[in-house]
């Protein structure tokens, strides 16, 4: 992975975070689909999944810095009969799966293999 790829990954994670902030959770598969269309990487779905989880993790960390997220996790976990760690994991897995599935089903407009793998 070269520097350009790192920038792309950071940019994509940020895109997930910003669109989630501005539009809502449902924007994750939309961004992933757009990414899949413009990306020619053979692992673009996995990258999308990773970046979506990363974007949401960033938002979660910001929440934790601002307020009692751990308290909420404990309370909500108890309400839903789940250990709170499961909720945190779900918060990362859920966008990852949304992004991976969306990026998987959307065909790339660019042929795979003609660009360096990202």
């Amino acid at each position: 992975m070269n520097a350009r790829d790192v920038v792309k990954v950071v940019f994509l994670a940020e895109a997930f975070a910003v669109t989630t902030y501005g539009l809502g959770w449902w924007s994750v598969p939309v961004v992933a689909a757009i990414w899949a269309i413009v990306s020619s990487s053979p692992v673009r779905a996995r990258v999308a999944a990773l970046c979506a989880a990363g974007g949401w993790a960033t938002l979660l960390l910001l929440d934790m810095a601002k307020g009692p997220v751990l308290t909420m996790g404990t309370q909500l976990g108890a309400v839903m009969n789940l250990p709170s760690i499961v909720l945190y994991l779900l918060t990362l897995v859920f966008p990852a799966l949304l992004a991976w599935t969306a990026a998987t089903i959307v065909p790339s407009m660019r042929k795979t293999g003609t660009q360096p793998a990202t």
Binding site: A17, T20, Y21, G24, W25, W26, P29, A45, W56, L59, L60, L62, D63, M64, K66, G67, P68, V69, T71, M72, G73, T74, Q75, L76, A78, V79, M80, L87, L90, T91, F94, P95, L97, L98, W100, T101, A102, T104, I105
Partner: protein, 824 residues
């Protein structure tokens, strides 16, 4: 293949993100870290500076939140202040406000589906929504009260319209619901709901049930109209309680003639949710008292308020301070959903309430044209059309899950029970102007003026206590007291076919129980019978609580002629008990007599020794209160065995108030003492000693040795403060508290009711006040302000209330957040 699986998974994820799956709420709005539950947790910490818009504001409003989370609202007009109040209520308590409205209007199915159907049916059948709509329709739309409700709605809706998705309370996410728009009617619904909460148990029912088991003479004596112990709210010139004990007739033969009436009325009350509304009758009672300057250390009047209600999280109360220069400068608590300070103080006056518990609802047996589907009812030989309302119950998706037809006569809602159509008239349905009454209190400049503003108050009847800076203390049991025809009693089912059964009017103000600056130098109320029947025989009810709390506070106040605000605070959680003072010596005397007669044994003597060690104070560290309570339970169960269902001895029986038991103590050979379920014939001493001995044996078996932790009071009584949705993680459970049944801070039953707000106000040159309630200002369970007052409440401590005249008077170090509200 992979694409197909991915498409399926994506569809499933999107579905789970948007829709509930069984009990699991939609995952998207929960997990979304920018707008979901995590973000809402982050949003509970308000920024230091905020700006918001409320359409309709005439001028900007500054709201300073102090370090207790209390908003100090500085506005240039009253209506602007109420707009701001709506905004901050919604910001802190939106879910609670809507939950109360839905509970009152029977619309909980729209959140919970069929699970809430029966609760909703009860709410609608009692006509709460119907009554609120009628009241609002007849309300003077030009009055300040109505305009305040409108302004308040503007504020609530401004918050709803502009709030960020992250501000949506967690409960809405769990229910997959969105907030409804607020209307003035919702505030009226809340008032109706409060009237229901404060509707006392039905003494008629208990008396009739007893009559069906032991005959009329005994039932009337066990459930008398007047309290056998008189220490009324309106002082009767007797410094001590007067015991009006009458001869208690022995149990007579069952009166089967009332069985059907009992059955019909019982089912009606159950259906209308007007039956036993209190886990222990006493726990939802309240206290208030005021001391004149002549009996205080500082030479200023001091007032204490202590309403006991359902303990919930968030609290039923919200604390606020409103300043409109030249008009209002009042602080205290109000209900989220209402724009006023209900209990509080201003620069001149402090006020508080307890429930009067008068009989303000009656039942009428109606004659209808069709037993199954009536359309008319007959009065004075003429058929009158019934008002019908077809009620639809909707589910979460708006689908109809049930319909119901409600009928109303001119008296109120009518319902068929036991083959009989019964209608109910209740003062809470009558035309009134409570919002104006409550709002105007904050502008009173003297106790006299305050009383004047309560002159036309209707429901629920309240013992309003007021003190002012000139040193005046006064109390009046305000509200509409119906005048009935005939004997004037309201505890019978009346014939609905004649208008002669209808109310003749309401008692004139001069007949209300009241007192101003009594010679004794203090006033106190604790839900006891408000006026001595020897002084005022007007029928006001027949369901008076035992006056144990009243006796205790009167004793404390009489014993201390240099009372301080701190004394008042200590009185509020005083662990002493007039009930224990009355009964413990009787247990010990009975054991002594049994000992002298050679009827005791080692266990009984040991039980008496342990009970004798008790100082009759329900403190957490005590090991003996539990013995007394268990013995009292045994004594009640065995004494009143005639009133307990022989087929189901575990069923909750409606036993007489313990005043009757005290009365019976002077009749050692009364037939009541015999427990008919045993082969021997017991007298008083036999039953009393047996109860103590049994209690001791049970406690040893269940809780271990008398000095073990099992006997600790703190391990036996708790406060349980449940979240509105009864979600345990959002509740505060098993809180050890000081106090027992019938102490000033009662702890009874399941511990879900109790002292909901404690306030002490000293009316010196500068008014000083202290207060607390169990919970916190925020309705968000994750917020630190959700339960930040709880530990101090548990310890009986109070916070000093900040009461700045201007924003500049509030110390900067105490300001945590500033909210500026503008119209544009």
């Amino acid at each position: 293949m992979q694409k197909g699986l991915a498409a399926l998974l994506l569809a499933a994820l999107m579905y789970a993100g948007f829709r509930s799956i069984g009990p699991v709420p939609p995952l998207g709005p929960i997990l979304d870290p920018a707008n979901g539950a995590w973000a809402s947790a982050a949003a509970t910490n308000f920024p230091a500076r905020q700006f918001a818009k409320i359409p309709g504001l005439h001028d900007s409003v500054k709201v300073l939140f102090d370090d207790r989370g209390v908003p100090h609202i500085f506005a240039s007009s009253e209506l602007d202040a109420y707009r701001a109040m709506g905004y901050v209520h919604a910001r802190d308590r939106l879910f609670q406000m809507e939950a109360q409205t839905r509970a009152s209007t029977g619309r909980l199915t729209e959140w919970a589906g069929k699970r809430a159907l029966e609760v909703d049916k009860e709410s609608r059948a009692i006509g709460l929504a119907w009554g609120a709509e009628r009241k609002l329709a007849s309300y003077d739309k030009t009055s300040l009260g109505y305009k305040a409700l409108e302004a308040y709605s503007d504020g609530v809706n401004a918050w709803i319209s502009h709030m960020h998705p992250r501000d949506l309370p967690i409960e809405y996410r769990l229910l997959n619901a969105r907030p409804i728009r607020w209307e003035p009617l919702n505030s009226m619904h809340f008032l109706s709901r409060m009237s229901l909460t404060l509707a006392m148990n039905d003494a008629t029912m208990r008396r009739l049930r007893a009559q069906s088991l032991v005959g009329k003479a005994a039932a009337d004596a066990l459930f008398p109209v007047n309290s056998p112990i008189q220490q009324p709210i309106q002082p009767n010139a007797s410094p001590k309680p007067r015991f009006d004990f009458a001869e208690l007739p022995p149990p007579g033969p069952p009166d089967k003639s009332v069985a059907q009436s009992v059955d019909a009325r019982e089912r009606l009350l159950a259906a209308l949710n007007l039956g036993k509304n209190s886990e222990t009758r006493d726990a939802i009672g309240s206290n208030n008292w005021a001391v004149a300057p002549s009996r205080t250390a500082g030479g200023h009047a001091i007032l204490a308020g202590d309403p006991h209600l359902d303990l919930t999280l968030p609290s039923v109360w919200y604390e606020a301070h409103i300043v409109v220069p030249g008009k209002v400068d009042a602080a205290g608590v109000g209900f989220p959903g209402m724009p006023m300070v209900v209990i509080g103080f201003n620069r001149d006056v402090a006020w508080t309430f307890t429930n009067t518990g008068s009989d303000v609802n009656d039942f009428y047996a109606e004659s209808v044209d069709d037993k199954s589907h009536p359309s008319k009812y007959r009065v004075d030989g003429q058929w009158r059309p019934l008002e019908k309302r077809v009620e639809k119950y909707l589910d979460q998706k708006g689908g109809t899950i049930a319909t119901d037809t409600l009928y109303f006569t001119h008296r109120g809602p009518m319902r068929r029970e036991g083959g009989q159509w019964l209608s109910m008239r209740w003062t809470a349905y009558e035309k009134s102007r409570e919002p104006d009454n409550y709002i105007s209190l904050a502008t009173s400049r003297s106790a006299e003026e305050w009383l004047e503003k309560m002159r036309d108050y209707v429901a629920p009847t309240q013992n309003g206590l007021v003190a002012d800076r000139s040193g005046t203390i006064a109390i009046r049991s305000s509200g509409a007291y119906p005048i009935r025809p005939g004997d004037g009693r309201g505890d019978i089912i009346r014939d609905g076919s004649t208008s002669a059964s209808d109310w003749l009017g309401v008692l004139p103000l001069e007949k209300y129980p009241s007192s101003k600056n009594p010679p004794q130098g203090f006033l106190a109320s604790a839900n006891q019978q408000p006026v001595d029947p020897l002084q005022n025989p007007s029928y006001m009810g027949s369901d008076w609580y035992s006056p144990w709390r009243a006796m205790r506070i009167n004793k404390l106040l009489a014993e201390n002629s240099r009372i301080t605000p701190n004394d008042m605070r200590l009185f509020q959680t005083d662990p002493g008990s007039a009930r224990a003072d009355a009964f413990v010596p009787m247990f010990l005397a009975a054991v002594a007599r049994a000992d002298s007669a050679g009827n005791s044994d080692a266990d009984l003597r040991e039980a008496a020794r342990l009970l004798g060690q008790w100082d009759r104070r329900y403190v957490r560290t005590n090991h003996r209160a539990i013995l007394f309570e268990t013995a009292m339970r045994e004594l009640n169960r065995h004494t009143w065995d005639e009133l307990i269902d022989a087929k189901d001895s575990t069923a909750n029986a409606d036993l007489p108030e313990e005043q009757a038991l005290l009365e019976l103590m002077s009749l050692p050979a009364s037939e009541w003492w015999d427990d008919r379920r045993t082969p021997v014939h017991e007298d008083r001493d036999a039953l009393v000693t047996q109860s103590l001995k049994t209690a001791y044996a049970k406690l040893k078996a269940e809780k271990g040795a008398p000095d073990s932790t099992g006997w600790l009071w703190s391990n036996n009584r708790h406060a349980n403060i449940r979240h509105l949705l009864r979600l345990e993680p959002f509740s505060a459970l098993d809180i050890s508290v000081q106090g027992g049944p019938n102490t000033l801070s009662p702890s009874g039953g399941q511990g879900t009711q109790g002292s909901s707000w404690r306030m002490v106000v000293e009316l010196g040159p500068e008014v000083r006040a202290w207060s607390i309630y169990p919970g916190g200002q925020s309705g968000a369970p994750a917020s630190r302000r959700y339960t930040d007052r709880l530990s101090r409440w548990t310890l009986g401590e109070l916070d000093e209330v900040l009461f700045p005249r201007t924003p500049a008077d509030l110390p900067r170090s105490r300001i945590t957040s500033t909210l500026t509200l503008t119209s544009r």
